[in-house]
Amino acid sequence: MSRISLSLGPLLFNWPATRWRDFYARVADEAPVEFVYLGEVVCSKRQPFFSDVLPDVIARLERGGKTVILSSLALPTLQRELRYCAALAEASQMVEANDVSMLPHLAGHPHAIGPFISVYNETAARLLIDGGARRIALPPELPMASIAAIAGAAEGAEIEVWAFGRIPLAISARCYHARLYGRTKDSCQFVCENDPDGLRVDTLDDEKFLAINGVQTLSHTYCNLIFEAQELAKIGVSTLRLSPHTCDMVGVARVFRDVLDDACESSRAMRLLRAIAPDTAFSNGFAQGVNGATYVVR
């Protein structure tokens, strides 16, 4: 079995630039991840906040031995957003397309396909690989059987699976943070910065359900595939994606690395992850082929 690698997905939340920079500095020095995805995926209005520090962070990560991949917006519709995406394709780093609108700009160049492009089967994967895709991060709702079928047929590309963190479930033109505060998207005053892991959404019967992050809706639960990690490696997945949160992500990466290296039992690893993120509930339902909100104990 070839060594499975870890990636740190693009930060989905609105963090202040200083926190953002400090976070990636620590990742550069300490996190056992091979790939780091950088760039705003959710809301183009947030881009100016960290664009000044972006070059430094890229350099720092590359000095730390990480491969930096630049992620594109998931739902570009405005002209300025589309222009930004086209410009991104010129970067010297590999680019992760999170919308089909990126593909014409990347055709023929090695690139990555993000989890926001709907790749549900091997035929779609092959078609993208033929167009130059070298990495494909699958949609988080795919069950293990589908992941296996795609990974088994995706020669020429590395298959990546969402393994830790709140699961992106939906994206909209409407900003729910702004709506909740009685503002429009254009005059949002960046209220999403209050919630560095997303704003929890409960039902009227107090069930913990979702989290909102600007125009994005995520799961309340954190996906946690620590028990599935070995099996994913066996079926041909080459990278597990860890999605940044405020909890100790270096610690999370170390636990996953240890499990993949047979240096830690899965059950002990689960206890360690619970200690790192004590206030969260974990889920693995999507991978297990049931509703995503549940954790299937095996």
Binding site: A74, L75, P76, T77, L82, C85, D99, V100, S101, L103, P104, H105, S118, V119, Y120, N121, E122, T123, A124, L128, P139, P140, E141, L142, A145, S146, I147, A148, A149, I167, A170, I171, S172, A173, R174, R179, L180, Y181, T184, D186, N194, L199, R200, V201, D202, T203, L204, D205, D206, E207, L210, I212, T217, S219, G285, F286, G289, N291, G292, A293
Partner: protein, 333 residues
């Protein structure tokens, strides 16, 4: 030609059953969209959709009356099992469907290669919201028409329509998805059944209603979606129309249980260069189809004739008993 006078915008109407298809055509539909009775289409609901025989007969019925039939095969083929989706495309081509409505990259590739003469429409499930994205599908697969995601304003629709090399179709009435379709896993998160993979959203098999004193509690899977006091209109517990709570306030966080009615925007949509308008509701009854299609036929004929049309309310047909113009007005965001 159907006997409805000059065309302005093509009226594309839903049909969940052969009887609904006949009703829609009698009420003035230019085209009807429908699906096979399996998970290949995004309205895979119990008791709904067309057997192969029904589809063949319905296409003949429509053709005799000058109406088109568009077959939606707009879920994403299951990995390792593309057979049912490919057969659906093959049969649609064999039956003489006017077009198939697809979303899956793999299936688009299959259809374009195997049936080069079959007209391809890009489903709203493909979430192609920009000219760059749409032109990718046109260039790669020869897509002839795109159904625009319900996230664009009228001005954006006009800009996209100008910049793409295919026709555009846009929703004008019915249930409103607030999330970008084809990229929404809310339903599978709560129930394990997804629009993309299983063709269902907030499936009836996971819906339950419970009377709690004066309150009607609607639940989906393990989650309460709404509590309605008696007398207040009630919604089907579609996730994104639910009433939820946060530390910063509670309410219909995503969207009120309302429906889209864009009749007042028809002149603007025509000016924007849109080719066709679409009515949502393959899961709805003949009574709904008849009322909504007739109202739109009247509105479009008046638009063509340059006369004003009194827009009578269709709110009683809709969820929440009220209507909105949705993302077509930018303030919606």
């Amino acid at each position: 030609m159907t006997p409805h006078g000059p065309r302005t915008l093509e009226l594309v109407c839903p049909a969940g059953t052969p009887a609904s298809l006949r009703t829609a055509i009698e009420a003035g539909a230019d085209a009807v969209y429908c699906g096979f009775r399996d998970e290949t289409n995004a309205r895979n609901f119990p008791g709904l959709n067309f057997s192969r025989d029904e589809m063949r007969a319905s296409i003949s019925y429509a053709r005799e009356r000058g109406a088109k039939v568009l077959i939606a095969i707009n879920t994403f083929a299951r990995a390792g099992d593309p057979g049912p989706w490919r057969r659906a495309v093959d049969d649609a081509a064999a039956f003489g469907a006017n077009a198939v409505i697809l979303a899956d990259l793999g299936l688009l590739g299959y259809a374009a290669t195997t049936h080069p003469r079959l007209r391809l429409h890009l489903s709203v499930q493909a979430a192609a919201a920009s000219a760059d994205s749409i032109n990718f599908y046109v260039g790669r697969f020869g897509v002839k028409r795109v159904v625009l995601p319900r996230v664009l304003s009228v001005a954006e629709i006009a800009a996209v329509t100008r910049a793409v090399s295919c026709e555009t179709e846009t929703f004008a009435f019915g249930g409103l998805c607030v999330m970008t379709e084809g990229r929404c896993s809310l339903s599978s998160y709560a129930t394990g059944k997804s629009p993309n993979m299983n063709g269902v959203c907030s499936p009836a098999s996971h819906v339950s209603y419970r009377q709690d004193g004066d309150c009607l509690v609607s639940r989906l899977g393990e989650f309460t979606i709404d509590r309605s006091d008696s007398g207040r209109p009630v919604g089907y517990p579609t996730l994104c129309k639910g009433h939820f709570r946060t530390t910063a306030g509670q309410g219909y966080l995503f969207e009120e249980p309302v429906s889209l009615d864009a009749r007042r925007l028809l002149p603007e949509l025509r000016t924007a260069g849109v080719t066709a308008i679409k009515i949502e509701g393959r899961q709805r009854s003949r009574a709904y189809i008849k009322a909504v299609v007739a109202a739109f036929r009247e509105a479009l004929d008046a638009l063509a004739a340059g006369t004003a049309v009194p827009i009578e309310s269709l709110a009683s047909m809709t969820e929440g008993q009220s209507v909105t113009s949705g993302a077509y007005r930018k303030a919606w965001r």
